[in-house]
């Protein structure tokens, strides 16, 4: 098998996903183009060598509709012959883009594929793309609920307390702040600039380094009212009849931030790297996507990781560093429980609770984050995993070369 290597990974900084966020005036396609240009320019890449561009984007309506990937390629000034595809595997989209790129390369059908993701959550409202997932028939048949309820249910089922999730959130903030302090992301972050070349944003602006257990304790649960008063908790009874009451532990402070951002990853085979004069940073050892029960929805990080580990012939303890997306604090906590791994190895430079989760881009961002962290610590193997709406999980294992 030809094998797929990661030659480079870049991302934009993440702006707060509201009208006061710094990236709110930047179009989604410009975020994507920023990442695509950053990747090209740093590597002096001849874009005509790119066989395809795969871009994750979740809310594909309005300005993110109509295959934003192809428009992004054109806006970035890539060779017009470079095709592009936009894909949606919800929160796993960015990593799915990387995995599909890797699969195209590893299969030998393609040589160089750029993967990435984009989401301007301040400009395109999450959920505004509708979908069959919202059909009442689904609710009746499956008892599917909004993710926040699922996250609280996951915590309830696995004995994860409010104390636990808040402590995890504080750690995320501290680690992210410390990472920025020592410029841990300097290698990957490409500032967003306007048409005059003036900087719009060059740092993650969602971080709250002064977060404490006390400050989080003041926040009331986000999904309690909705869950108890609007019948959503009751919907989960069909699947989880043993749960008398859901313990609503999540709030804005221990769930992922809503932000704007984009990322791009350069994937290629060994020969192509040589031809283009590039040095591989890591290789993709294994990947897996998997479905799980859709009401709990967020638990598939564990089976996805296990499947990837199995395919790589590895054990959980063989992985040096993990990136487990902090969609809700209970997810990495549950995943750590499930895989039997220590917090020391997980999200060492903070995660989405601190820096935010631009849906379609996060998977690609995390791949770069774990690579930077491995290099900084001179470690070898990393595993990235994300929980996904509809009850799915995705995982990718990389190894530095």
């Amino acid at each position: 098998m030809a094998g797929a290597f990661i030659y480079d990974a870049v991302r934009t900084p993440r702006g707060r996903g509201k009208s006061s966020g710094s990236l709110h005036t930047t179009k989604a396609v410009d975020l994507l183009a920023t990442a695509l240009r950053g990747l090209r320019d740093r590597n002096e890449l001849d874009t005509s060598a790119i066989d395809d561009v795969t871009v994750g984007c979740v809310t594909q309506v309005a300005e993110q509709g109509s295959c934003i990937a192809r428009t992004g390629v054109l806006v970035a000034g890539y060779d017009e012959r470079v095709p592009a595809v936009t894909l949606n595997r919800f929160c796993g989209s960015g990593l799915e883009a990387v995995n599909e790129a890797a699969a195209k390369v590893a299969s030998g059908f393609m040589d160089v594929v750029v993967a990435g993701g984009v989401e301007s959550m301040s400009r395109v409202k999450m959920g505004s793309d509708g979908g069959a997932i919202w059909d009442p028939t689904m609710e009746f048949a499956y008892g599917t609920v909004p993710q926040g309820i699922s996250a609280d249910l996951l915590a309830t089922l696995h004995g994860i307390t409010r104390q636990d999730v808040d402590a995890f959130a504080v750690a995320s903030q501290k680690r992210a702040a410390a990472a920025w302090e020592r410029r841990a992301f300097a290698k990957s972050v490409v500032p967003v600039v306007d048409m005059n070349g003036l900087v719009v944003l060059d740092r993650d602006e969602h971080i709250r380094p002064d977060t404490t257990m006390e400050s989080l304790a003041k926040l009331s649960p986000s999904f309690e009212m909705m869950g108890r008063n609007f019948g959503l908790d009751a919907l989960t009874k069909k699947r989880y009849p043993q749960v008398e009451h859901i313990d609503h532990v999540h709030h804005a402070g221990n769930a992922s931030g809503i932000v704007d951002g984009a990322a791009a990853v350069l994937v290629g085979n060994e020969d192509a790297g040589k031809r283009l004069g590039l040095k591989p940073r890591a290789r993709i050892r294994a990947m897996a996507s998997i479905g799980d029960e859709p009401v709990i929805m967020l638990s598939a990080t564990v089976p996805a990781s296990q499947r990837a580990l199995q395919k790589a012939g590895m054990k959980a303890s063989d992985i040096d560093l993990y990136e487990i997306n902090e969609a809700f604090a209970a997810v990495p906590l549950y995943t750590m429980q499930g895989l039997g791994i220590d917090h020391d190895k997980v999200n060492v430079d903070g995660g989405a609770i601190a820096m935010g989760h631009p849906l379609g881009a996060t998977g690609a961002i995390l791949l770069g984050t774990v690579l930077d962290a491995l290099e900084a610590r001179d470690l070898s193997t990393g595993l990235v995993t994300l929980c996904i709406g509809g009850g799915m999980g995705i995982a990718t294992i990389i190894e530095r070369v």
Binding site: K125, G127, S128, G130, W134, D135, P136, T137, E139, F140, G143, V145, P146, R228, F230, G231, L232, A234, L235, K237, K238, P241, Q242, V243, E244, H245
Partner: protein, 706 residues
């Protein structure tokens, strides 16, 4: 004139009247309706100089729905779909004929009847609370099938329509106007017709909003938007919270509205048709129609029961001014009876009278005079001599046979020889109580349910000595107070109390066997039970159950020592007597209410098999078995009473159609096998009665399969 439909034309105004006056007392939607309506519509459209059409009824009601015989018998989806499509095509023709069409709602328009009105451009109703409007189809296990789920959201908005259709709401004319179900109210029949004609004259180019360019849904929320998705997500969740997923019809109604409003009206009607047909041919619809239409009507009409032309009851005395006594006093006064409310304590009496006042205050539609008149019919007394004029006495004193005997003797002493004495006991055999009576022929059981103002059922119990005339007079009175009477023979706990005890005691039994109480509660809800067993156990109090056990021991002459009895007695010993005490199976101090942690310590073992399905089966099997036993023992006289009593009295799964329908659906043979297996493991009290065995052997059912 065909099938009672006619078209009349007023050449002067150019207005045609499409008059519906089908044979019999009401207009019912069936094949004959369709043919008659279609012919009359063609006649109307043929009139030279036609300016508009008024759709009116020659009967008291406009039309109160489909001919349920037709719906009940329909099992062939393809045939039924074609019939439904014809109706829809007819209504489309009506609303797109090019002239204004007005529904003259001079009486109630319900279900299919209201759908006729929806297919008109304008609805004028008689301004009377007696005129009812709405789409109550889900209550019979089906959904509106002639455009109701499509036109109503387009007329009053998605959210309002969801509430009306999924809840099967019926509203009175004044509220219907507020809700937008009708456009205009007029004081008299003539005024309704005049207003209809005037509207036609003023709106010569009337069109349905949904057939107009740029149509937008009223109420703000447009389909296929985030707001609409949130609305439907919350609506679906609230529905499931209420029904635990046991009812297919309201779910189908929500889906039909959701999916049908994503597309235009014609496609929407097709979506509705698919869901409608799917419901109509289903077992759940058949079972619900049989019970809530055929059985309920038969019970309310007291079919097959002795009749009295005159109950000869004007004054009713209620003994005991507690919750039940005061409630009864109010209910009788509300229906025009003179009521004497007696208690032995001044304080209790005053509380009872205050309860009546509070209830009267809730009747907003009454004028102050009417309310005062109602309350003036209730007289409180502490003195048994004051009861001399009573024609009917209902005792609602504490459940103690000695006390009741004393009350019976003391009261009968002052009564006229004609007067009926009734006991509201929920369990004590009427024959035993009647031993204290000097005229047992006038003695009867009238078992009401709490809160009596709301609960429609009354269980009428005849003891061996109860006279036929007493029964007839009592039934006449029950009809007057608008209660739904089932009539059963005497025996400890009669029917409903035995049935209900079987349910809650089985839950306690399951606790004793070590099953997870959280699962027990959910299993019951998912099986369609209206209230979870441990929750309702706490409401009726465990002390009452413990008292019942003691009474039963006395009657049966042997100790009752089984898991459930031990759990109940231990709980009572711990002071955990129920909701009123703040602690029972649940802890009421916890927010939200939580099942008590200590229940696991009451477990006497660890179950080999458990889970929602197993627990649901256990809870349902003991109930249906109790119903079968009551039939076998002759406590129950009819099948219909078994169904109506269980559902209206004690909240047995309405979606099932009742305990006997439940057995039919499950299969008698399967039920017998399951009960035998339980009996082998847990004791003879689970064994099925001979009746069920016989039916299993002969492959019989309780109700004819349609």
């Amino acid at each position: 004139m065909s099938n009672g439909f006619s078209a009349q034309f007023d050449a002067e105004t150019g207005i045609a009247t499409l008059l519906m006056q089908m044979e019999g007392r009401a207009n019912k939607i069936n094949m004959a309706f369709g043919e008659g309506f279609a012919a009359a519509l063609d006649d109307c459209l043929a009139f030279e100089g036609l300016k508009g059409i008024i759709v009116a009824s020659g009967h008291k009601d406009f039309c109160v729905g489909a001919d349920l015989d037709f719906v009940y018998r329909s099992r062939d989806a393809a045939v039924f779909r074609d019939q439904v499509r014809q109706v829809n095509a007819l209504y489309r023709k009506l609303e797109t004929a090019g002239v204004p069409v007005v529904a003259a709602l001079t009486g109630s328009a319900l279900g299919g009847g209201y759908e006729v009105a929806l297919a008109c451009h304008h609805r004028v109703a008689l301004d009377s609370p007696a005129v009812q409007l709405g789409l109550p189809e889900v209550n019979l296990g089906v959904i509106p099938g002639a455009g109701g789920t499509q036109r109503l959201p387009r007329l009053i908005g998605l959210q309002a329509a969801l509430e009306h259709v999924a809840q099967g709401k019926i509203v009175r004319a004044p509220q219907a106007k507020k809700a937008g179900l009708v456009d205009d109210l007029q004081p008299t029949r003539e005024a309704v017709l005049e207003a209809a004609a005037a509207w036609i004259a003023a709106n010569p180019r009337a069109k349905q909003p949904w057939d107009s360019k740029g149509f937008r849904y009223p109420g703000g929320v447009q389909p296929d938007t985030g707001d609409a998705r949130n609305l439907f997500a919350a609506g679906a969740a609230m529905l499931v919270k209420k029904t635990a997923g046991a009812y297919a019809a309201p779910e189908a109604a929500v889906s039909a509205i959701y999916e049908g409003t994503l597309v235009g009206l014609d496609a929407g009607l097709e979506v509705e048709t698919t869901y409608f047909v799917n419901r109509v041919v289903s077992d759940q619809a058949k079972d619900m129609i049989r019970t809530f239409w055929y059985h309920k009507n038969a019970v309310d009409k007291q079919e097959g029961l002795p009749r009295a032309d005159d109950a000869r009851v004007e004054t009713v005395a209620i003994l005991g001014a507690g919750m039940m006594g005061a409630g009864l006093a109010f209910v009788f006064a509300q229906r025009g009876f003179e009521v004497l409310l007696k208690d032995i304590g001044q304080e209790a009496l005053e509380r009872g009278l205050a309860h009546c006042q509070a209830q009267a205050g809730k009747l907003r539609h009454l004028s102050t005079e009417d309310r005062d008149a109602l309350l003036s019919r209730i007289t409180g007394t502490l003195n048994v001599e004051d009861l001399a004029d009573a024609d009917l006495v209902i005792e609602a004193v504490f459940e103690n046979i000695d006390l009741k005997h004393e009350v019976i003797r003391e009261t009968e002493a002052v009564l006229s020889p004609e007067a009926i004495f009734a006991s509201n006991t929920s369990a004590l055999p009427i024959g035993d109580l009647a031993k204290a009576s000097v005229r047992p022929a006038n003695f009867i059981g009238l078992h009401f349910f709490s809160p009596v103002e709301k609960m429609p059922l009354v269980e009428v119990i005849t003891a061996e000595g109860t006279g036929e005339e007493t029964l007839a007079r009592a039934l006449k009175v029950m009809g007057t107070i608008k209660k739904t009477p089932i009539v059963v023979n005497d025996g400890y706990g009669f029917y409903t109390t035995r049935f209900f005890s079987a349910y809650i005691m089985e839950a306690a039994q399951l606790v004793s066997e070590g099953h997870d109480p959280v699962l027990i509660e959910w299993a019951a809800r998912q099986a369609g039970m209206v209230v979870a067993p441990l929750k309702v156990f706490d409401e009726v109090t465990l002390s009452l159950a413990a008292h019942g056990l003691d009474m039963r021991e006395k009657y049966e002459g042997k100790p009752l020592d089984f898991g459930a009895a031990r759990v109940v007695r231990k709980m009572v010993g711990l002071g955990r007597t129920g909701k009123a005490a703040g602690k029972g199976f649940y802890d009421y101090a916890a927010q939200p209410r939580k099942l008590w942690d200590g229940l696991k310590d009451l477990a006497e073992g660890t179950p080999e098999v458990t889970g929602v399905d197993y627990l649901a089966d256990r809870l349902m099997l003991v109930q249906v078995n109790e119903a079968a036993r009551c039939l076998d023992e002759g406590i129950l006289r009819t099948h219909r009473d078994a169904e109506i009593g269980a559902i209206l009295g004690v909240g047995f799964s309405p979606a099932s159609g009742g305990p006997l329908a439940w057995i039919d659906r499950r299969g008698v043979r399967d039920v017998v096998e399951k009960l035998d297996a339980l009996a082998a493991r847990l004791g003879d009290h689970y064994a099925p009665p001979a009746l069920l065995r016989r039916m299993a052997e002969n492959g019989e059912r309780f109700f004819e399969k349609v």
